[in-house]
Each structure stands twice: as C-alpha cells, then as structure tokens.
C-alpha cells in the first residue's frame, strides 16, 4: 500500500504542478489578481504531496520491502539501517525523486515567504519553477517510476559499497540542496526576464537563495574531498575526476554569481551579467547531474542508465537551458543598463573576479569534456588529468586570489590606486616576507606551491584588513562573513600548497614485527588479521606508532572486501596533529609474508578542509546577516518605499 500511496501522491503533485504553471501563465496574461494569489497555496500543496511521496519511498527502503523493484535492486536486508535510509537516494530513481522534492520545497518557500519581489515577478518565478518540476515529474512518472513492483524477489542486490560510508550517505542530499537552490535562482532570473524586473530589489530577493545553495555546494565539495581522501587510500584530496569537476563547475559559477548579485543589489550594476550567471550556474548544476548520472562518463557515481532515459534528461536540459538563454537573448536588450563605475573601484574588482571565475570554469569544462569529444571524433580514449588542470587553473587561481585581496579594500564606484596601496601595504609586506623566508629556508618546492604560500600570506592579512579601525561589535554580520570566507581561502591554500610541496612518503613491504620510519615517527607492524564487518570482510593491520617523548599509538588501517556487489575499498588510518596528519594505508597485496604499506606525513593537510569549512561558515554568517537585516528593515518601511538603504 505504501508504494501505491507514494505513486498516487506523485501523480497528484504532477497534476498540481500543471495547475501551478497554468495559473502562473494566465495570471501574468490578464494580471488577474485572484489567479495570481491561487498559485501560492497550489505551490505549497504540491510540495507537501511530493514530500509525502518521498517519505513513502524512504519507508519502503527502511522496511526492505523487496516487492518494490527499486528497493530490491539497490538495497539488502542485511545492510545497516543508515544505509537502508541513504539507499533511498543511492540510485537513479530515488535521487530524481529527492531532486524534485527539494525543488518543490524551495518553490513552496518562495511562495509562502518571499515579500520583496513584485507580485508579477513572483508569479512568473513560481511558474518557471513549476515548468522545471514538471519535466522531472514527467521523467519520474513516464520512464523511471520509483514505486514499480516486482514479484518473487527475496533479497536485494545491495548498494555500491563505495557509497557505504556515513559521510557519503549524506553527501548527495547536500549537493542536491545546492543544485536545487540554484534552480530557484534560475527561476528568479527567468521570472525577472519575463516581467523585465531586473533591479536591486530583485537581486536582494534572489541573494539568500544563491547564498544558501553556495553554502551547500561548498560543504558538499569539502565533504566529498575529505571522503575521497580517507576512503580511497591514495592519499590525495582532489583528483580532477569528472565527478569532482561536475560539482566544482556549478560552485565556480555560483561564486561568480554571488559576487555579481551583490553589485546588482548594492549598486544596481551588472544587470545582464547577473542574469547570465544565474542561468549559467543552474546550467552547470544540471550538466553536472547529467554527466554524473547518465553514465556518459565512466565513474563510480554513475548508475547504469539506459540510453533512452539519458536522452529524456538531455531533452529536458536543452529545453530549460537553451530556452532560458533564448529568452535572455530576446529580452536582455530591453533591460536598462545599470549604474556605471570607474576602473579602480569595488565593482571593477568584482568584474575581474567574475571573469576569472568564468575562465576557470571554461577551463574545467573543456578538460572534462575533451575526452568525450575526442572519443567521438576518432575513437581514441584518453583522460585529462591533474597536470592539465593544475597548469591552467593554478595560475588563474593565483591571480584570482590577488584580486580577492584587493577587492574588499576598494570603495564602491570610484577609488584611487594610491589609497588602495596604503590599505594593502601591510598585506604586501607579509607576502614579500613569506617569499623571502620560503626562498631561504624551504628549498625547492615548485613554482605553484611557492606562489600559493606567498599569495596565502597576502590574502590572509588583506582579508582581515576590512575590520581594522572598525567597531567590531557594530560591524555587520555579512562583513564578518566575507572576512571569514576570504580568510578561509588563505587557510585552504596554505593546506594545498604545503601538502603538495612538503609531503613525505614511505612505500614499503613490511613483515610483522618490522619497523619503518616516516617523518619523525617509527611505525611498527604488529599484526595483520581478519576483521569481519556487518556486511563485508575486512583485513586490518595493527601498527604501533612511536614518537620521541610521546605515548605509543595504535593505528589500524583496513581493507574492506564487500560481497554484494563484490568490491574492495580502503580505509586509511589517519592521526591528526596540529601541523599535519600521519596517514597509513594497508595495500591490497601481500608478497609472501610481507604486506604492502603506505606511510605518509602530510604537513598542514587539514588546513585544506578547515579553510573550506571557514568559507561555508562565512557564507552562513552572510546569509544570517542579510536575512536578519531584511526582516528588520521590512518592519518600518512599506514595500512601496523604494530607495531605502540596503
């Protein structure tokens, strides 16, 4: 019954979405107030129904109801509860249902709480939202029914073992929340194009959505990177894998959008560019989802999807994205040009930031798609890896960071170079100091890590500069947010540069009882033994780590062997110190009675993710600060009163 109820709710939600779209279109045509108001309850009800449908699917997974095809194909009754739960979206149909659920909740939130937008723009936005949702409902109901029944199955096929990790179980919903938040920004952009209402008010309405999805995307990327680092056992934190790129590209576009929407909200500038970026950011999340889920690129994340479904999704993508871009081409000429600004100004720095982020995005996109294009052209299989991306994106990122250091110290509209130099002097001196120290003491560490550490010093000092001579208690929360996020960039870069320049590695075949050195640790292999897990067999090594003046430490790296489906994963043993991590991996082969072990000392590697968390936290503070100010400023001023301070 649960499956049938879920399916019925899904059909009803789809029907309401059609109503939502129709009400929106009619409401805009006749400016009929009644119709326009009816769209609000319809949006909310639609979201409730699809949420119910999703809860039904979760219930089926938690109960291991093997009479449902999706559960039988992706779950297993012996699985720990948390993975039964996460198994709901660990597959194609379930992840699509989650997608449309979050999308509809976002729509309902706009309908119920958005007060800054003009009514017609809000109606147009909700209609655009309905149009997106409708495509996904059609997809679910016509070709990927998650509630399809099957007979005579007693046991399920399991969940990809790589996905059986608590962190990873919640990784997809986090990224999805980010992706879907971008769909809200996209709907705003389409709505504003339809009603020709591109201005500061619109930008302020759109900004919380951009901030929120940017926070989710940031957390998703940071978590995904740390997951890859500790569970794949290769000691790296970023592989430039197509799947990683698929999440990085929307992040880059959203980061650019976040900065340009601020120009639009504060200075009424960059109108066309902001709309363009909103469309681009959503396009990149859709392209990312498509690349990852269609199986077009080989990856651990791609589910087996038949080509017909792939074409269906692709059709939806073409319709939405090219439709929005065509609307952009038709309408943007009628949007009044925004305010002007001088070459040396905060706006100018933000334009540079936008251009660089976009160029990096194009570089990543080309690198990700080049193998696909080449294979189509002449059947050659190649992969574009770290050397290309690092060589091209690295220097661009260094320039971006220098702009990041200068931008917040510039005034809006116009400023003088001389005053900028005064404000940034201390940061430049720190950079020069770091350059000198590294040249004298660090030895040969490669040009990119060297530049990275110097730039990190400049950014680190410059990013706190906006707080100087300010009353810290009266500094707005979003200024704190910016400072912390920018400081997080510096912290991350320190981690990346140190890890790539100073990592020490010892790859050894160890006998039991043998001792090896790494950095200032002595690692003794005490035992290698079997360790059965809930649904896997594991081999684990017990290593005793000694360092002068410290208690000995036990570290237990594991090798997991899953049976359903058969797959091997690595669980590195990691010990964190303030200045780095000791990282031990048990290799997958033994030579006679020797076991392959990898020992790594990774200085300041944790700074990579610490910086990432700071960036997300900065975003969160900005979001809270903005929303709070909006609520406070709404009370005295009626919506008609325009030109009130931001």
């Amino acid at each position: 019954m649960i499956a049938e109820a879920g399916l019925a709710a899904l059909w009803l939600a789809a029907a309401l979405t059609i109503a939502q779209l129709a009400l929106g279109v009619l409401g805009l045509r006749r400016a009929g107030e009644g119709l326009a108001e009816a769209i609000i309850p319809v949006s909310v009800l639609q979201a409730l129904l699809v949420t119910f449908s999703f809860v039904c699917l979760v219930t089926l997974f938690m109960r291991s109801d093997m009479s449902v095809l999706l559960v039988a194909a992706n779950s297993h009754s012996a699985k720990p509860m948390i993975y039964k739960f996460a198994g709901t979206w660990g597959n194609h149909e379930g992840s699509m249902l989650l997608w449309v659920t979050i999308l509809s909740i976002a729509g309902a939130t706009i309908a119920a709480f958005e007060r800054k937008l003009r009514t017609d723009t809000k109606v147009a936005t909700l209609a655009a939202q309905a149009a997106i949702a409708l495509g996904f409902y059609g997809f679910l109901l016509l070709s990927s029914n998650p509630f399809e029944r099957i007979e005579n199955v007693i046991e399920g096929a399991g969940l990809n073992p790589l996905l059986q990790d608590p962190g990873l179980a919640f990784h997809p919903p986090t990224l999805y929340a980010g992706y879907v938040g971008m769909s809200a920004a996209f709907s705003f952009a389409v709505g504003a194009l339809v009603t020709r209402d591109v201005g500061p008010e619109f930008a302020r309405a759109m900004r919380p959505w951009i901030l929120a999805s940017w926070i989710f995307l940031t957390i998703g990327i940071v978590a995904g990177s740390y997951w890859a680092y500790y569970t794949l056992g290769w000691g790296g934190w970023w592989f430039w894998d197509p799947v990683e790129n698929a999440s990085l590209m929307p992040w880059l576009a959203t980061t650019a959008l976040l900065h340009s929407v601020t120009v639009l909200a504060t200075r009424d500038g960059l109108r066309a560019w902001t709309i363009m970026l909103a469309v681009l950011a959503f396009s990149m999340s859709m392209v990312g989802t498509f690349l990852v889920r269609s199986g077009i690129l080989t990856s651990v994340h791609s589910f087996a999807v038949d080509p017909e479904r792939g074409v269906f999704i692709l059709g939806l993508l073409v319709f939405y994205i090219c439709g929005a871009l065509a609307l952009f081409a038709l309408r943007i000429g009628t949007v009044r040009e925004g305010s002007r600004f001088d070459l040396v100004s905060r706006e100018s720095a933000l334009v540079m930031n936008n251009l660089l982020l976009t160029v990096i995005l194009v570089v990543v996109l080309c690198g990700t798609l080049y193998p696909l294009a080449l294979e189509l052209a002449n059947g050659e299989k190649i992969s574009v890896g770290a050397p290309y991306f690092n060589a091209v994106a690295g220097p661009l990122a260094v320039i971006l960071m220098l702009i990041l250091a200068a931008g917040p110290l510039l005034r809006w509209r116009t400023d003088s170079t001389k005053k900028l130099v005064d404000r940034i002097a201390l940061a430049l001196v720190s950079g020069a100091g770091a350059a000198l120290l590294l040249a004298v003491f660090a030895g040969d560490l490669g040009i990119l890590p060297y530049l990275g550490l110097v730039v990190a010093a400049v950014v680190g000092v410059a990013s706190v500069a906006p707080l100087w001579k300010r009353n810290l208690r009266r500094t707005p929360l979003f200024t704190w947010g910016m400072v912390i996020a920018h400081l997080g960039c510096a912290v991350s870069i320190v981690g990346m540069a140190s890890e790539s320049a100073f990592t020490q590695e010892n790859l050894v075949a160890m006998e039991i009882g043998e001792t090896q050195r790494i950095h200032d640790f002595e690692v003794t292999l005490e035992d290698v033994r079997e360790a059965p897990g809930p649904n896997y067999a594991a081999l684990e090594a017990v290593a005793i780590v000694r360092r002068e003046g410290e208690e000995p430490l036990r570290m237990v790296p594991q090798l997991h062997q899953f049976s359903d489906p058969v797959m091997q994963t690595n669980q590195a043993a990691i010990e964190t110190y303030w200045n780095g991590q000791l990282y031990i991996v048990l290799g997958d082969r033994s030579i006679g009675n020797r076991f392959l072990m990898r020992l790594w000392w990774k200085p300041f590697v944790t700074f990579i993710w610490l910086g990432g968390i700071m960036i997300a936290l900065g975003g969160l503070l900005s979001l809270v600060g903005r929303v709070r100010r909006d609520i406070v400023s709404r009370k005295p001023a009626a919506p008609e009163l325009k030109g009130a301070p931001a």
Binding site: A73, E155, L280, V311, F328, L376
Partner: protein, 176 residues
Amino acid sequence: MMRKPLLWLPMVLGLGLFVLFYLGLENPGQRIINSNVIGRELPEFSTQVAVEGVEPVSSENLRDGKPRLVNVFASWCAPCIQEIPVLLRLRAQGIEIDGIAVHDRPADISRFLAENGNPYRRIGLDNEGRSQLEIGSSGVPETFVIDREGRIVYQHIGIVTEQDIPDILARLGETG
C-alpha cells in the same frame, strides 16, 4: 548593433554542448568497460553443484574447444530476470551458455530457473563469490565471451539486451 548576434552566442554554445552530449549517449562504444581480464587465460576456478543433475562450471570444462558465454547471475538479482529471455534466444540459436550463481541457495536457483526459464547448459554455485572474483567480475549480471581455448575475449557488464545480440554473436564468431 553588433551586440544583437553576440547575445545569441550563449545559446549557440549551449546547443553545441548538448549535441556533444547527445552523440556521446548514442555512441554505443562508450558504455563498454574494457576489462583487464580480456585476452587472458581463464584462471583456475571451480564451483559447486547448484542444481541436482546439472554439471557445475569450472575453468577445466570451459576449455572444451567450443566458444561459449559464461553468465554471472543470482536468483535475488532483479535485473537478471530481464535478461533471461535474451539468453534463451541466444541458446535457441545454438550458443552454449554456462551460468555461475553467486551468493545463492540451490532451492532459490531452481525456483528462479523454473519461473523464468533455463538458458544454461552448466550451472555452478559460487557461494562466497570466489570464482566471480577470479574471473574478474564485480557484480551481477555480467556475461563473458569465452573462446575455444578458454580465453576471455569480452566482458559485458550489466543486462544483455536484444540490441547486444549482434555484438555478442560477432564476438563469438571472432573466436571461431
């Protein structure tokens, strides 16, 4: 007004991207994973009796001078049911198919075959998935094309569909 045509550039680029994706989806070579077991001698393995009176599968009896398919399946595997009709058609065309049931129980296998049809000549039971690992398979269903000397010439991951039949026949032909 040079700006006008320029405004359409994003859409043109977008369309170009989607043409690329479409071609990528339509290109069938794309989804075949080149396994590192291809071209190798079959490693030594053996399986247990799965169904009373039916010979089990081992590396020994795969080297009988006849090209064949080896299909890795399980009675609990929902997608495996979908490919049985296709395997039955191949069998009707005179192709010999051996099955290896992984992580399964004899009673369940018999029921599975009774309900869906039996395309297999030999059926082996591989309870721990050891043989599956040996031949380089990592999931169900998977189908291997074995030549007359007992070498793996092709590994098909996932369901064998009607569309795959010509390809599989061609690869079996290559081995003859």
